[in-house]
Amino acid sequence: MSAAVVVGLLAAGGTYLVLQRGVVRVALGFTLLGHAATTLLIAAGGADARGVPFAGAGPGAADPLPQAFALTAIVISLGLTAFLLALAFRSRDVHGSDDLETTEGER
């Protein structure tokens, strides 16, 4: 239950920020959405099983698969956040702002 609330809050915050105009805010929004997805993946493995995810570790062992998913997703979202921030930086260089609405020019 608490995992569901956390995912809901993170996704709501992320959605709000993604709908903003500045690219930096959008990047922060995607970070929150990424955390929401990571938390959901971990919760999908069963929030009660928290033992060491080794083969033969007994009934309380956590599901190793969602942990592998979450790790992969974290790495990908880190790289993409870096790229979005680089785009925001470049946008300030060529447009003078990271806000796309004020830079809407030809086409």
């Binding site: 995607f30 929401a36 997805a37 999908a44 698969l65 993409l80 447009h95």
Partner: protein, 491 residues
Amino acid sequence: MSGLIPLAFAFPLTAGALGTLLRGRRAAQRLLTVAAALVVLALGVVLLAEVRTGGVVTDDVGAWPDGLAIVLAVDPLAALMLCVTAGATLVALTVAWARGEDDHPLFHPLVASLLAGVALALVTADLFNLFVAFEVMLIASYVLLALRGGRDQVRAGVVYVGTNLLASALFLLGVGLVYGATGTVNLARLATAVPGDPAALAGLSLLLVAVAAKAGLVPLHGWLPRAYVHAGPAVTVLFSGLLTKVGVYVLYRLTSLILVDVTGLAPWLVAVAAVTMVVGVVGAVGGKDMRGILTFHMVSQVGYLVLPLGLMTVDAVAAGVLYLVQYVAVKAALLAVAAATRSLEGSDRLADLGGLLRTRPALGIAFLLPALALAGLPPTSGFVGKYLLIDAAFAAGSWWGGAVMLGVSLLTLLSMIKILTGAFWGERPERPDPGHVLTATRRRVLVGVPLAIGVAAVLLGPAAAPLLELARDVATGLVDPSGYLTAVVRP
């Protein structure tokens, strides 16, 4: 044979990594990327010959225990798509070389990584692995789009990256929900586990929205024409053949395995496909430059490719597959003509062009032949594809799907005529001649590539029988996926 499958993405990935190390040595980079595309093409041909008659080759990477293992599987559709995407990559690489677009030190490594992601997406039978493949492919494409770093590229980059990141986040959330409900990400196991389970269906709907956005289906198409026109012209050729087509491929795979058992979905697929066709072609008719018209067309054509999924008869799916193969080639040729026009005339805006048929007759023919194929006029390959699609739609009782396809074909022709009258007929507006910036050999290659594809598209019309037989083999495996299911689920 099965041990060869990982090569399809391992080789391009290695080529990309080596290419990054060889930043200063363009010839070595070129060699690596072309070799990567040729390896994928060769693998596709070999695997296609192996699985042609209903077989499925699988590889259990790392031999992990069942449930943890990522299974790779190649059926006729995956093998055919490997050939098609590798071919499109080779065309794009040739155009990029001729235009001097591959001079950026990261161009070749990025193309190789993109191809690696595409190949992995085609051969994987694992939902989470599919997400990873999508990301490998998209990250390379984000950088390729923004490579030139100008004003338009940055703005297009933010739209493109933002949309696809959102779709990826939805995809990941969908994978989490589906795994939570069913406890597996193996596509074949999901085929039996998902359809009756409401919680898994909720996750599946998120996946579906994400894939539809990546494929460019209306109403999730807005990013495509906005982003693609600002990429380098050769990069547009590459994106057209690879990115949205992988989205369509995943839709084919998911429909064949899972969606076909979800009751009440089929009419919606037909409806979405029909709306996509209409919106795409109307946008294309309103375009002001060659690439603007052609990229909006991609949206419309995705509709043609997805409509057979709502019918799911062997005839319809075979027509869709045949259409896909010839469409990738034809669209690559048209975008190559736009790229050539930009190099030779300095612009591809219709207002800046005119009289090209007189001054550059070879380029005119190179545009005309694939344009006829895109509009679906006999005797081209496009005619065969569209005829079979429309025939299959009527045969499956979807008369209005067929009617929409007929109407959209007319508008497609109209948009092609718009380019024809704007750029190739009439008088050239008073404008300084850009002069020859390219060597004679490169200019000949720029015109020769689309010309060759155009001639092939015309010849393929009357000689479509072998390709149609192949498409029927592919479609049989999709409509009855029992071979794929038993091969991917291990005992």
